[in-house]
């Protein structure tokens, strides 16, 4: 075992979990989990949504205390009361949802809550220290930049730098690539390999099996809070991994085929010469787009090329600076998001924590966001909490999310379960159009599959679906046409049937369709 990782026989693990269990009211998050992490390895942690991956890592880093079992570091049993103690023992984590202080600079964030930060230090020196750390550890950051101005990939580098600068030997990453562009993900992998080459270890949580196959040495699979297996990645296939995760076989097939009678219909939603400006900045330029009933339109492109703005325009969250948005021929440019939702436009937003949900409020409040103002939840000006509870239970059921307590804040749900709830809530009201921005972010393979099937059902019943995604494979499987965005413009719209991936790649880089 050790020799296969290039270690001397008998090398002890950097950290080991023995018989760890964690129970939440009504939920077994972890039970009897054993795990050993050796120097030099990248260890992937796989499992369905709610399988207990994040919880297990939160135990390892002292955010939660285990209800049973123990953590062994360098042969010594440890109980971490807080992440600060864990990092002192060399275990650090970058969370599914970042925890940086947005208003602070990179340098300030890196030095925040660190015993080695000098008590009095000028901003200049702080930035110099940060620059040095960043060079030593091979993670390029801009020390003086404010975190709120950084891209997601850059913020993640800051988080990693924060952990590594505290001399972590075990770096835990919770779904790090869910929010990265493929190029950013490759950069991350290079940094991770360099880190493990120095005799450290990485624990890597992901739902993307191809990534796991690419980067991990070993993989551990959790199901229902229990460990199913730990395997060498070489001995696994994506299919096998998926099967171990869900406990049954998953059939992935192309979804473009249609049943008799379900065809592409009349135009539903139209953008005519739409532009969007913020001050002098041009966010969207001259967009022309026609969506038809019963079709799936894919939007490809590197994140940050106007997809978010486009989804806001299509759902009434923003009004175009020029041009018009038409819903079934009516000008809805200034209708607003509520009117659009009432007219049957659903919206799975790209950022569930800031837009899609109110994480601090009960699950019920979050589940009924689209229907609190209609019967049976509303009667005149009244809101009926009992009816709301019934609806929330129904949505949780079809979303296949087990909720022990609907009064619990929504943030207590696992990341993927939050996404499932939001997606279901939106599909319910999407009678005409569904705008889905990165809907599979954070979902496990099984859940992605289920969601795609529901998209197909919506499509076949005559709903127009817009699927914004960075996964070309996902787009090619589902979409009828693919539009490619670059710098706020649509470079071209291609039929998905027989499309050339290289051509899409070129268009994503700014070349117009021939």
């Amino acid at each position: 075992m050790q020799s296969r990782l290039g270690l001397k026989p008998g090398t002890p693990p950097l950290v080991a979990l023995r018989g760890v269990a964690k129970y939440f009211p009504g939920v077994i998050a972890n039970e009897d989990v054993n795990l050993a992490i050796y120097p030099g390895e990248i260890h992937a942690l796989l499992g369905e949504n709610g399988a207990g991956k994040s919880t297990l890592m939160n135990i390892l880093t002292g955010i939660y205390q285990a209800d049973a079992g123990e953590i062994v570091v360098d042969g010594e049993t440890m109980a971490f009361a807080s992440p600060v103690e864990a990092i002192a023992a060399g275990i650090g984590m970058v969370h599914q949802h970042f925890k940086l202080v947005q208003a602070f600079t990179v340098a300030e964030n890196v030095h925040l809550g660190w015993s080695q930060t000098p008590a009095r230090i000028s901003a200049r020196d702080l930035e110099a220290r940060t620059l040095k750390l960043s060079q030593d550890l091979g993670l390029a950051v801009t020390p003086g930049a404010r975190v709120s101005d950084l891209s997601t990939g850059e913020q993640q580098r800051v988080e990693i730098l924060r952990v590594l600068s505290r001399d972590a030997r075990v770096l835990i990453l919770d779904e790090p690539t869910a929010v990265l562009t493929p190029a950013e993900a490759q950069e991350l992998f290079v940094a991770l390999r360099a880190f493990t080459a120095r005799g450290n270890a990485v624990i890597f949580i992901s739902h993307k099996l191809d990534e796991v196959m690419e980067i991990a040495n070993r993989v551990t699979i959790l199901r229902g809070g229990r460990k199913v297996a730990t395997e060498w990645t070489e001995n696994c296939s994506e299919k096998g991994l998926a099967q171990m995760m869900v406990g049954r076989e998953i059939v992935l097939n192309t979804l473009r085929g249609r049943p008799e009678g379900a065809g592409i219909g009349a135009p539903v939603l139209e953008l005519r010469d739409v532009s969007l400006n913020a001050g002098d900045l041009s966010l969207l330029k001259n967009i022309n787009l026609t969506l038809h009933a019963g079709e799936v339109l894919g939007i490809a492109g590197v994140a940050g090329n106007g997809q978010r703005e486009l989804s806001h325009l299509l759902t009434g969250m923003s009004t175009p600076s020029e041009g018009a948005v038409l819903l079934e021929g009516q000008d809805v440019s200034r209708s607003g998001a509520r009117a659009m939702a009432q007219a049957g436009v659903g919206h799975i937003p790209e950022d569930r924590l800031h837009a899609g949900m109110a994480p601090a409020l009960p699950i019920t409040d979050n589940a009924v966001l689209r229907e609190y103002d209609r019967a049976p939840l509303a009667k005149g000006p009244w809101y009926l909490p009992r009816q709301a509870f019934h609806l929330a239970r129904e949505i949780a059921k079809i979303a296949e999310v087990a909720v022990p307590d609907f009064a619990m804040p929504a943030r207590n749900l696992s990341g993927g379960n939050q996404q499932r709830l939001v997606a279901r809530r939106e599909m319910r009201i999407a009678d005409k159009v569904l705008i889905a921005a990165y809907p599979s972010r954070g979902l496990d393979v099984g859940a992605i599959n289920t969601m795609m099937r529901y998209f197909v059902e919506l499509r076949d019943s005559g709903v127009a679906v817009v699927l914004i995604s960075e996964e070309l494979e996902e787009l090619m499987n589902l979409a009828d046409r693919i539009a490619v965005m670059f710098h706020g413009e649509i470079m071209g719209i291609l039929p998905a049937e027989g499309v050339d991936i290289d051509e899409i790649g070129l268009m994503m880089g700014g070349r117009r369709a021939a």
């Binding site: 009434g316 998001a337 109110a358 009244w382 809101y383």
Partner: protein, 353 residues
């Protein structure tokens, strides 16, 4: 061998939270008792004295009710703001302005009480709302934090009231040095010297609880207060709700001021707000911004303030009493944190750290 350890829960159970609140009150009183004992007083005697003078006679009960009433209004005012994430530190000033406007109507507008009293209430509420208008617009349109703006308005209001009460509106009879004449109308009594301000305040608390819990508006305010981005995504009129809620908050504090001047004090004078606005912040926080909870926490604060008044002859200062209220808040904050932990028994030893 088994060990005990603390486990952090995802959410505190309501019962545990409530007990933690009660325990924090008891602890604050015990702490105060220890300090009193250290200064050579017998805390048990003093406590007995407070209880017998407050609850032992109808005078005591009436005094308590008169302290409870303004705290009910200011507590509700602050609580309403908190529902949408606004800290109305300015209830003190809005209370003063409400008293000022109501007194102005009573002193200068002749008419039958049946007409004048409702007018005073309306003007009191309007004045309270007016006093929070600028902070409201600054917050709604320029995202200026209301913490400082509402606070600053308090000083202006206090100076204004003192100025008119000692200057232009000074009692012309020459009998009083720093107050207006006795108002010609008053809020009628319900029991003893307790006036209608109390039942009206209680009804208001119930109405607010219903509005927040059982209307679509209340749901939208909840979402907007918790995550404005989520409310915008759903197309809710976040800004409009923010403005309404803040104005309502000011109006409630203003109504409190009207009730105080027309029901309890009967004259406008400097310091009529008596820190009620600031104590209202504690009332609201202890009640976790729940309108029905405010009824209980306002009563608790009234008992403590009343105790301070009873003990004044024993050399207890207002500062001491305010310190006790501060202690309660302090312990309550600690209690809230502890309510999220549970003591559990481990089968295996917990480790060496």
């Amino acid at each position: 061998m088994s060990t005990w350890r603390l486990q952090r829960l995802p959410a505190a159970s309501p019962l545990v939270s409530l007990s933690a609140r009660l325990i924090s009150v008891v602890l604050a009183l015990v702490t105060a008792g220890i300090i009193l004992a250290a200064t050579g007083k017998n805390p048990l005697d003093l406590g007995a004295q407070v209880i017998s003078s407050t609850f032992g006679s109808s005078f005591g009960m009436a005094d308590l009710a008169l302290l409870f009433t303004p705290l009910l209004y200011t507590g509700l005012a602050v609580a309403v703001g908190l529902r949408i994430g606004v800290w109305n530190i300015g209830a003190e000033g809005q209370f003063n302005l409400g008293a000022f406007a109501a007194a102005g109507v009573a002193l200068f507008l002749p008419g039958p009480p049946a007409l004048i009293l409702p007018l005073m209430a309306v003007m009191g509420m309007a004045a309270g709302a007016l006093w929070i208008l600028i902070p409201t617009l600054a917050r709604a349109y320029a995202d200026v934090s209301e913490l400082i703006t509402t606070l600053l308005m308090n000083f202006v209001a206090a100076l204004l009231v003192t100025y008119v009460a000692t200057g232009p509106w000074l009692d012309p009879s020459g009998m009083a040095l720093a107050t207006t004449a006795r108002l010609p109308v008053e809020v009628p009594a319900v029991w003893d010297i307790v006036h209608w301000g109390l039942p009206v305040g209680l009804i208001l608390a119930v109405l607010l609880a219903v509005a927040f819990g059982f209307t679509r508006w209340g749901y939208e305010v909840r979402i907007g207060g918790s995550n404005p981005g989520n409310a915008r995504y759903a197309g809710m009129p976040v800004r409009r709700h923010l403005i309404t809620v803040m104005l309502v908050s000011g109006a409630i504090a203003g109504l409190g001021g009207m009730m105080e001047v027309a029901g309890t004090v009967h004259r406008l004078q400097g310091g009529i707000s008596n820190n009620f606005g600031y104590i209202g912040i504690m009332v609201a926080v202890l009640a976790r911004a729940a309108p029905l909870g405010v009824i209980f926490t306002a009563l608790l604060m009234a008992v403590i303030l009343n105790g301070g008044i009873i003990l004044q002859p024993q050399g207890l200062t207002t500062q001491t009493v305010l310190a006790v209220t501060g202690l309660i808040l302090f312990y309550a904050a600690i209690g809230d944190e502890f309510a999220r932990y549970r003591l559990i028994r481990n089968a295996k030893p917990a480790g060496t750290r």
